[in-house]
Amino acid sequence: MATETSQPKVLEIKDLVTRFYTTDGIVKAVDGVSYDVHEGEIVGVVGESGSGKSVTALSVMRLIPPPGGRIEAGEALLDGEDMLKMSEERVLEVRGAKIAMIFQEPMTSLNPVLTIGRQLTEALETHLDMSREQASNRAGDLLDMVGIPDGRNRLNDYPHQFSGGMRQRVMIAMGLSCEPRLLIADEPTTALDVTIQAQILELMQRLNEELNTAVIIITHNLGVVARYAHWINVMYAGKIVESGPAETIFKNPRHPYTIGLLSSVPRLDEPRKAKLDPIEGMPPDLMNLPGGCSFRPRCPFAIDRCAEEYPPFELVDGTTDQHKACWVDVTQVSAAKAGSDN
């Protein structure tokens, strides 16, 4: 599974900073985020609301709404070309053709007054210079590909005639219509039922394998990406706090936040716990972050140093590809802590 990282990079995000200037203050939504996505790789970006996981993706897509939202620094190289420095015209060429994004709410992200067919053919005509007829043929193929029964005959239907799962399939079909290099899926299954969620994730994995499309799955649910992601980035308060190959992150999480996230959800494959272990406290207020490490107020491992300096994002000792931003070596502490807790 680690083979993907040896592939060429499709996307390279470097030190991205995105802020929102509001009447109440400055929201540091993304605060120095860097990560790569390689060809054919599925990257899971995990974090809770306000972690900056979606804003990072929107910044890359150049979809940060002005005037409040500003990308202040950083680079986002898509095949070596910086998305953040492109002209508006170039962005329109690239978006949809080389990089595409699908959103959480399939109910609101389709245009209700255009047919499904029209919404699919629009990108094909714009980016691939297809004729109406070619485009609508291709649109039929796409609906078949994403598993909409009798897709060809549903091109003239409107979004309200589709169920939630089917709309999300349409979104995926739209995203993949021009065979982009990279597909960003922002909470693609959150609004869907578990059985439909399974269908959609299987579909995305199949398309990733068949078309070699790199995929970023943004989610708050670690379970969703466990099966599919090769690489995981965990975000908290605008920063990546831990990253590594999926197996490592789930098996040996080293950042207290990742550990907390994993242990706060009940697991079906484990004996039922008498009590859940939540992460105490509240999600961070991005206008008012504490000094030092942002996770400190909720962290059971925090030491004095955590209040003073934000920890560097460094390689975890004894590993070759797992990084974390934490002063504490949790493996040293947890043994002692486990003894005192129980």
Binding site: V194, Q199, N221, S264, V265, P266, L276
Partner: protein, 341 residues
Amino acid sequence: MTQTDVEVTGHGTEQYTGEYLLEVNNLKMYFPVNSRGIIPRHVADVKAVDDISFFVRKGETLGVVGESGCGKTTVGRSIMQVYKITEGEIMFEGVDLAKLSPGRMRRMRRRLQMIFQDPYSSLNPRMTAGSIIGEPIRIHNMSSSRGDYVDQVEELLRVVGLNPYMRDRYPHEFSGGQRQRISVARALAVRPSLIICDEPVSALDVSIQAQVINLLEELQEQFDLTYIFIAHDLSVVRHISDRVAVMYLGKIVEIATREELYENPLHPYTRALLSAVPIPDPIVERQRERIVLTGDVPSPIRPPSGCRFHTRCPIAIDVCTEEDPEFREMGGDHWVACHRV
């Protein structure tokens, strides 16, 4: 039984001592679909809940799971008498709620309360936390004086883990998890015996969900509460429930104790649901057999003939398309409606 004769006083029916706090028999809730035009005609029904029966024991938590549109929320609201139910009996503390007059039902609501999914829309943005929590106390005349009222509100805030000084704040000043705590405090204010929790944690961040679940469990013990916990997240339901009912398209297809349902699911729908729940462990996940159901849930206006699940069932046979399977007991409190079991 002369249930309707039981006097419902301002204090409800605390004296009730039966084993089943709630017994729902043959509940049907149909919503009419009318044709458009000058004179609307009744053309069909959305059979949101179609002939279901179950009970809830005093002090236990019954989980109700199912996908959107399965009728789980309608069950909760039917029990609360938010709707005039189409048919059936809702015996709560020995009283059939469906037969109560609106005035008596209002007094009865003191005994059963509800918590909703979205703490952003279920709290009145123009009321302070204190008045939101105190409103039911005022409505049901449960305080002896102004001072007593304030004491009760502050105590409730404390009980749900909020600080009493927060009572003058407005909902927008609270985080999602804190708002859900306010909803819980409001429900607790009238000292109910049953609380219907409709997706109480699904709008919250993962790390906060666990806080609210722990709170609900602590309160259950402290106040001897009975819960109906409606949710789509099967891992959460397993954690909190004593027994679990699985719904599909307006029917209960399986109901069993927690251990039975999760260790030994009998209905193919329950099995598919369980296999679809993601487990946060790549190694376990990649080895799991997943039953991926094809297609979507059919329309509850024209549910499929016979067993409603047969259109998506991986093991359906001819009889499934013709006969509605009987809901039968398989022993040990385990009930299932399937021809193939």
